[in-house]
Amino acid sequence: MSEELHPVRLTVNGVTHRVEVPARRLLSDALRHDVGLTGTHVGCEHGVCGACTVLVDGDPVRSCLMLAVSAADHEITTVEGLAAPDGTLSPVQQAFAECHGLQCGFCTPGFLTTITAGLRENPCPSHEQAREMIAGNLCRCTGYQNIVKAVERAAQIGASDKAAS
């Protein structure tokens, strides 16, 4: 007996995708395999590492701890949706490049989405708040030193962008 498929409308980075998935399909897998956006990475599939973090209606959520069927009709932002339409890196992305905030790049999408939302909520974090902002994401390469710097640098870039506009 084959498994029941559910039609689901996923809105990802402003684009609507209609997919048919079994109820058990994790959002992380739907994004990667059904929508084809492989920037969202799967590191543990039990909600601890944070590599799969995406924004659901603007809030960071573990996409491995959400079913694709539950994501229907919500606005999802993945790492692919962070840069400007013209390809300009977002302040957080730019700060990661400047500060060497990544090495293998596997955990990076989860950090970028988390920090993007974090700075939206708190555009001028203190040093402690910058550390707290990334405290739910694992990175095995960087020792976090430069990621914390990148959070602070992104806040700076964000502030100067705002001042310029």
Partner: protein
């Protein structure tokens, strides 16, 4: 690490959800899913049906009045934590919530879901017990209220019937002049605590009552009345009612030590809070 197959319903009323649950003995409720989905992915749980209540309107309400805080089944930890009225009326809820996992998990996880998951290592059941709160559940024959002491019946086991859904939790307001505190020690920031403690102190001098709730100090969330116990005896008095266990992260003896330390800390902090909160 992928879930086994299951059916899926996404009802739009609680009554409909209850009917779905009643119709399938293998059904489970899906709210935030932050505890359930890992269990599914590890195939430690294999429900036949998930009843996803996330789209039921109105369940995400957080209502605060002078009697207390009523938290709807779909209110996310993050929303409760961010609510200034919650913090004002029952600060222990906010104090404890700040220790629940990480911010990203709190964005999706629900406070009521955490309460009925009935994990003795979780923060919120202890808070419900200590504050004398309750959970409102709806089943085929309507709604009933379960007081916290009646909710926790075994490890990871609540007294909800299979076809009942917790629709809200109620945390009574902190009494005037009372003080609360929460503290826990975890291996990593955001992990389940090795031991955690919450204190509620009311009255002063002869009239003072001291109660402390513990997580990860036994199979069930436990509240111990430490009224009148000498400061130096607090921890040992509490331990008489607790059963901290051994696991790969800590020995029972170490957990007992944490009970002693945390009891002292939270009672002291709750007293300080009561002083400061004197109105």
């Amino acid at each position: 690490m992928k879930p086994a197959p299951f059916g899926y319903r996404r009802p739009s009323t609680v009554a409909e959800a209850v009917r779905e649950l009643a119709a399938d003995s293998g059904a489970k409720v899906l709210a935030g899913g932050q505890s359930l989905i890992p269990l599914l992915s590890m195939r430690l749980a294999a429900p036949s049906l998930l009843v996803d209540i996330n789209e039921i309107p109105g369940l995400d309400a957080i209502e605060v009045d002078e009697r207390g805080v009523r938290i709807g089944a779909l209110a996310r930890h993050a929303a409760v934590l961010a609510d200034p009225d919650v913090r004002r009326v029952q600060p222990l809820v906010s104090l404890a919530l700040a220790n629940v996992a990480h911010a990203t998990i709190r964005n999706r996880g629900t406070t009521v879901g955490s309460l009925v998951h009935a994990d003795a290592a979780a923060e919120m059941p202890v808070v419900l017990l200590l504050t004398g709160g309750s959970v409102e559940v709806q089943g085929p024959s309507g709604r009933r209220t379960i007081a916290a002491p009646d909710l926790y019946v075994g490890p990871l086991e609540s007294s909800l019937a299979h076809d009942e859904i917790a629709v809200a939790a109620f945390f009574p307001a902190l009494a005037p002049g009372a003080g609360v505190a929460f503290s826990e020690i975890a291996r990593r920031h955001g992990d389940y605590a090795l031991v955690g403690a919450a204190a509620l102190v009311t009255g002063r001098g002869q009239d003072e009552t001291v109660r402390v709730g513990y997580l990860s100090a036994g199979d069930l969330p436990t509240v111990v009345d430490l009224t009148g116990v000498d400061e130096t005896e607090l921890g040992d008095a509490a331990l008489a009612h607790l059963d901290p266990g051994d696991d790969i992260h800590a020995t029972a003896a170490y957990r007992a030590q944490l009970v002693r330390v945390l009891t002292r800390r939270v009672v002291r902090a709750a007293r300080a809070h009561a002083e400061g909160a004197e109105r």
